[in-house]
């Protein structure tokens, strides 16, 4: 996991360190770090192929306004 495995916390002190430690120990971050290798991009090659077909930009102004 590179440098994020052992973050350099030397610039932090007191309450800051406590916050970081709390976050790393918390469920969301623990789950992300433990499952990093299992988080996988979906169909990237298929999407890359489609991007070659697509119009670069469309002449409209987005969702709420108008067609």
């Amino acid at each position: 996991m590179g440098s994020r495995d052992a973050p350099d916390l030397s610039h932090l002190s007191g309450r800051d360190i406590e916050k970081v430690a709390e976050a790393i120990g918390a469920g969301p971050i623990r789950a992300l770090m433990a499952n990093k290798e299992a988080i996988a991009a979906m169909s990237a090659d298929d999407i890359n192929k489609l991007s070659e077909l697509a119009a670069a930009t469309r002449a409209n102004c987005g969702g709420i306004g108008c067609g």
Binding site: M1, G2, S3, R4, V20, A23, I24, A26, G27, P28, I29, R30, A31, L32, M33, A34, N35, K36, A38, I39, A40, A41, M42, S43, A44, D46, I47, N48, L50, S51, L53, A54, A55, A56, T57, R58, A59, N60, C61, G62, G63, I64, G65, C66, G67
Partner: protein
């Protein structure tokens, strides 16, 4: 404005880069996925990860209002590291200074309808048609303000079919000028109320590859309530005949519907509007939410319900791509395009930068919804004041997402498109759309991405990709 509805935030004086490692959990009907906007990619993850990131779901309006969640900064730090080395091929980035691309001509400021929610009621009191020389001057000015020609010329009003002769002359002039200057011919677009369209017009629109949007707001009862003729008689029968006529001619036609609080109060959902249009054989539609009509007590709860309903329609649209009979909700096309192209939209819309509207008398504005003394560019003819144009345009450039702290923290930053005009109608200031507009839009974007995740996991994935390709390719009117 009601105090219960927050207004849009003013831009900060300096640009700031968006936060690194932004993410959200999007949900399809079958599964949940992580969306990382900086690489514009959907990721699968073990259930344990999704369960721990429950607070970061974006599948409902209430989850898309501003506010930092527990452990958000730490999770961002994880994803910042995670995406290192995962950069996809770079997509286009829209910029603040790309030149004018889209021109709207309010070619007729006469209308034969008296729609209850009309934003142009005051303008149409002029009861004037744009003179051919004004049309030509507007085209000349727009081409001068462009870098390499225009992407679209859109005829609006009032009812533009009342200015058919002027439309024909303008199209001819655009074609001549673009040939002369070596620019591609832009797309032509018309939004018509559908009550005055003749066979001759349908043939002309087909010949010139017009993108035709006919306004219809749902079933006969709601449509006739909202869109009566000036005398009070409903216009539904005439409009549905016009749609049928386009279909008989084999000429492409889409529908633009405005969804209002009146729909909601009468028990007509967004889903009902779409079902009605599909029943008429319409396969492409723009549903514009008139969010400005929601205010006062109960507004948030109603908007949450409408947002949920709108997202369900967006989900149905993506699911239809798995079938032999897909339909397109145009309001989500920017999500589909943005996801595939990995477009980074620097601004929520083109108003004041790539978009300009001109009224019948030649007065120009950043958009037809952004008309005030403060936003007037002045007149497009010989008296044009380029300094004034640049000054006003700069305000819009400096209202980009990089000038708003909320946008900088938002997972939808790169892909989001929205509308400055709809909030300007509520409060005449150049600002970020209010948080509740963003909440609706983010719920919609999240729904589309979640359904795309499902589709990419589906046994019908190949059919989905084929249909997606069809909607991504520039159509005839965009070529």
């Amino acid at each position: 404005m009601s105090p219960s509805i927050p207004s849009g935030t003013a831009p900060q004086p300096v640009r700031n880069d968006a936060a690194k490692g932004r993410f959200t959990i999007v949900s399809g009907s079958q599964g949940d996925y992580i969306f990382l906007p900086e690489v514009c990619t959907i990721f699968e993850a073990p259930g344990a990860v999704i369960a721990e990131l429950e607070d970061f779901r974006s599948d409902a309006f209430s989850k898309n209002l501003p506010g930092e969640k527990p452990y958000e900064a730490a999770a961002r730090s994880f994803f910042e590291s995670f995406i290192e080395g995962k950069q996809p091929p770079p997509g286009p980035t829209t910029r603040g200074d790309a030149g004018l691309k889209d021109l709207v001509l309010n070619i007729s400021q006469i209308c034969n309808l008296a729609c209850s929610y009309c934003y142009a009621e005051d303008l149409n009191k002029s009861r004037k048609i744009m003179l051919p020389e004004t049309c030509r001057a507007a085209i000349d000015r727009a081409l001068l303000l462009s870098r390499d020609g225009l992407k679209s010329v859109k005829f609006l009003g009032g009812e533009p079919a009342l200015a058919f002769r002027e439309i024909c002359l303008t199209v001819e002039y655009v074609e001549e000028k673009c040939t002369e200057l070596g620019f591609p011919t832009p797309s032509f677009v018309i939004v018509t109320n559908g009550t005055l369209v003749t066979d001759e017009m349908i043939a002309f629109f087909a010949l010139k590859n017009f993108y035709v949007l006919v306004s219809m707001d749902g079933n006969q009862s709601i449509h006739d309530t909202l869109r009566p003729f000036s005398g009070g008689r409903g216009s539904y029968a005439k409009v549905s005949d016009t749609i049928a006529k386009f279909q008989q001619f084999g000429s492409p036609v889409a529908v633009e519907a405005v969804y209002t609080r009146t729909h909601y109060q009468n028990g007509v959902g967004v889903k009902d509007v779409v079902a009605h249009l599909l029943g008429l054989g319409v396969r492409e539609m723009q549903i514009t939410l008139a969010l400005g009509s929601w205010h006062g007590e109960g507004a948030y709860a109603e908007i949450e319900a409408v947002s949920r309903d709108f997202s369900e329609v967006a989900r149905a649209c993506i699911r239809s791509f798995l079938s032999d009979d897909p339909f397109l909700l145009r309001g989500i096309q920017f999500v589909i395009d943005g996801f595939v192209n990995r477009t980074k939209n620097s601004h929520v819309c083109g108003a004041g930068r790539s978009f300009m509207a001109v009224n019948y008398d030649g007065e120009a504005f950043p958009c037809y919804l952004l008309e005030s003394a403060e936003t007037s560019y002045g007149f497009i003819g010989k008296e044009w004041d380029q300094d004034r144009y640049s000054r006003i345009s700069k305000k819009f450039v400096e209202n980009g997402k990089d000038y708003h702290e909320t946008c900088g923290k938002c997972w939808a930053n790169e892909i989001c498109q929205s509308c400055l005009g709809s909030s300007f109608l509520l409060e005449k200031k150049i600002a970020k759309p209010p948080a509740w507009f963003c909440g609706v839009q983010k719920t919609l974007i999240s729904a589309v991405l979640g359904e795309i995740g499902d589709a990419l996991n589906s046994p019908q994935k190949q059919r989905f990709l084929e249909n997606l390709a069809e909607f991504l390719r520039p159509r005839l009117f965009e070529a």
